[in-house]
Every structure is written in C-alpha cells, then in structure tokens.
C-alpha cells in the first residue's frame, strides 16, 4: 500500500509508542526514498531506527537525532537530508496540518538559526515565526487500545505524537496492542475518533 517515495508521519518518542510491526514490514518490503516526519530517529534497531539502518529514508523532518549515530552518518554522507525542527514547533506544524490551519506563530526559534528563511510576524509587540503546516501521505500510529470501529485510547508515554499524526495523514494505519469489541472503550476515554482511522492492524 505504501509506495516508494511516500511521506510518512510516524508516532513515537525514542521508539516508545512507534508501530514496530509497520517498521518491520516496511524494512521487509524495502520501501525506498521515504520522507519521515517524526519526533526523532530513535536508536539503531528500534522503531524508526530500523528504517534508518536499512537506508530507506531520503528525508527526515525531526527534532532530535542525537541517539542515532547512523542518522548522523547518513546526514554527513548526504544520503539523507535532515531538517531539524524544535520539538514544540514540529508538533504544532503537524497539528496545523491536521487541523486545517495555514500555519502557526511561535516565539520559539526567534533570534536563532531556526528563523532563517522564515517570515517574522509581530503580534502585540512580540515577534513570532510563521511555521508552515505539515501533512503526509500516511500516518503510522501505535495505540494501546482500539475497538473494531477504530476508536483509539493511548497509554502512558506511548501517546506522544500519535493522536496528532493521526489527524495529519491522508491514510491512517494503526497498530493496536489490544483490539476490543465496540462499546468497551468509554466515549470519554476515546482520544482518536474512529472515522480518522483507515486501517487497523493487530500487534501480533
């Protein structure tokens, strides 16, 4: 389903809350030339680190690569281009993409190298950077609980980017640790509403 050259938004924070089964399958099928939008590239052998090790990523838009020396090596060798984005700006750019906004105004990055090439807008005497929205062909999401309709409830620190990327992918593929009958997740505990989810995959 995912073609070579696709853009992927992937949930997870240092590999925690990343849909590992999808990472393994993408490596297995050797999908190439991928653009990855995610918090980080994890560590070799974990989460998005598996895609890095298999050299499947041509562009990464992330906030942190410090714990994956392979990402740094591929960046220096110009095998992968890396756009580093402050974490709070990255999540808001994804949110803007998913929420239909034309961008966001943030004070983060003003007066640093992050402001290069960006419009500065003054509001109430304070300067902000205009940061553009991000969307992707696919959002790859990990959840703790899903029902058969696709309602999702996350757990602990595996939530992180997942509910936000679930809004910003044209096709949303979810790996669930547990899939339960409809009605078992209380409406108040659903974080991602079922109509957003296109495909649900069991963890094992």
């Amino acid at each position: 389903m995912i073609p070579d050259g696709a853009s992927l938004m992937i949930g997870g924070f240092m590999g925690v809350g990343t849909p590992e089964r999808l990472m393994d399958e993408i490596v297995h099928q050797k999908k190439r030339n991928l653009t990855v939008i995610a918090n980080d590239t994890a560590k070799p052998g974990t989460g998005i680190g598996k895609l890095v090790s298999a050299k499947l990523i041509s562009k990464a838009i992330v906030s942190h690569i410090g714990l994956n020396p392979e990402t740094q090596q591929q960046m220096i060798a110009e095998e992968m281009s890396v756009e580093l984005v402050p974490q709070g700006t990255l999540i808001e750019r994804i949110r803007a993409g998913g929420y239909g906004l034309g961008g966001i105004l943030t004070p983060t990055g003003v007066g640093t190298v992050v402001e290069e090439g960006k419009r500065k807008i003054e509001v109430g005497g304070k300067e902000y950077l205009l940061e553009r929205p991000l969307r992707a062909d696919f959002a790859l999401v990990h959840t703790f609980l899903a029902d058969y309709l696709g309602n999702l409830a996350y757990a602990l620190t595996a939530r992180n980017f997942n509910p936000i990327v679930a809004m910003a992918g044209s096709t949303v593929i979810v790996v669930a640790e547990h899939i339960v009958p409809v009605g078992l997740i209380a409406p108040d505990h659903v974080v991602t509403p079922a109509p957003l989810v296109d495909y649900l995959v069991a963890n094992e």
Binding site: M14, I65, Q72, P107, A155, L156, I164
Partner: protein, 216 residues
C-alpha cells in the same frame, strides 16, 4: 562533594512545593535526588508525563513509561499523561515554573548555546528551544569549564538556543544571575574565593555587593 553533586544540590534549593519543573538530561536529572521529601514538586517529562518518579527497581520497568531520553521511569500517585502538543503547550505557554538544562556556553548577557557544535555534534535541539523560550525561569546546570576553557564567556560562539536570556547559572564554583542583562556573581562554592571564580571565568563578571557562600 563532586562537581555534579554540588550543582544538583544547589539547584534543588530553588524548587518549591507546587512548582511544575522540567529537568533536562545529565546533571539536571540529578536535581530530583536532592529535593526534600516534604516538598511536592511536579516533574514533567516532555514526552508526555507529569509526576515522573524515580528510576524503577530492576524488573519493574514498563515499556511505555519512559522519560524524554527513552529510559524507564516511574509515575507517582497523581501522575498524568498527555500528548506532545499539550506537553509543549505547557512549556511554551509559560506553565512550567522552572526548567533546568545543561549548557555548552553561556555569555555575559545570559544567552545560552546548548544544542549543537557545527561540524562536530548535531544532535538536534529537541525540546530545548521551546523550554528556554517558554519556561518562567531557566536555570543552567553545567561545569564551569570544559577542557580547561571557561564555558561562561563574553559572547556565545555556538548557535544560540533562544534569544531569551537564562535566569541563573549554577556551576561547581559559583552561582551567577543576570540582573539588568549582566552576568553577576551571587554565590561562591565553599572554599572557593571570588578571585578564583573571576580567574576561571572568561566573561566580565559584576560582583554582587554581598557574595554569599553556596548553601545546600
């Protein structure tokens, strides 16, 4: 007391009950070990947790309960979890009372560089730019010098983390604040003289009228 312990213990004294506090990786993480047990401080991990507790006992780690470095932590009773947009809304929106971060350089105006050394180390800024820009109070925990060179200098040579100056720098030698935008020596570590701090510092230091000895 070694340098890291001196720094962490001194910074712990800045925390008060009810504060929401974010600790960075490295020396800042140690600060939590020295907070008196009668204080109720809320520690945030920016991957989506308030109420971060100590490292779990062996065998008790949970695969989806981790800190911002991806290492297992515990959650104290009353903890809560949330997504990254809320986490950074808390940070950027001024809801975090204190952030403690490491530093590569701090200049005499209080500007911090702590996220890259061009050509050498490009880990990415992670949450550091948002934290320094948005937290109510920014404290830098770092050793005074690296490889014999002062890390407190006239003007940062490395890329800045934020245009917002930090509030306090705590090293194993001194506590430095930035009233009126000038590095000012407030405290010296036990058995360290004002002259020794000046000698070890490449920035121009204003000397407070009453330099105190660091208390722990």
């Amino acid at each position: 007391m070694d340098a890291q312990t001196t720094i962490a213990k001194r910074i712990a004294r800045e925390l008060r009950s009810g504060m929401l506090v974010n600790l960075g990786i490295g020396i800042p993480t140690l600060v939590a070990n020295y907070v008196p047990s009668d204080l109720r401080v809320f520690f945030q991990s920016e991957n989506g947790l308030i109420g971060t507790g100590p490292i779990p006992e062996e065998g008790m780690a949970h695969p989806t309960l981790t800190d911002a470095g991806g290492r297992p932590v515990t959650a104290l009773p009353g903890a809560c979890t949330f997504d990254s947009a809320i986490s950074f809304g808390l940070i950027r929106g001024g809801h975090v009372d204190v952030t403690v971060l490491g530093g590569l350089e701090v200049d005499q105006q209080g500007l911090l560089a702590n996220w890259m050394i061009p050509g050498k180390m490009v880990p990415g800024m992670g949450g550091a730019m948002d934290l320094v820009t948005g937290a109510k109070r920014v404290i830098v925990a770092m050793q005074h010098s690296a490889k014999g060179k002062s890390k407190i200098i006239k003007k940062c040579t490395l890329p800045l983390t934020s245009a917002r100056p930090v509030d306090l720098v705590v090293t194993e030698l001194a506590v430095i604040a930035f009233p009126a935008g000038r590095a000012t020596l407030m405290e010296t570590a036990p058995a360290v003289s004002v002259a020794q701090v000046i000698e070890a510092t490449a920035a121009e230091l204003v000397i407070s009228q009453q330099v105190q000895e660091m208390q722990f």
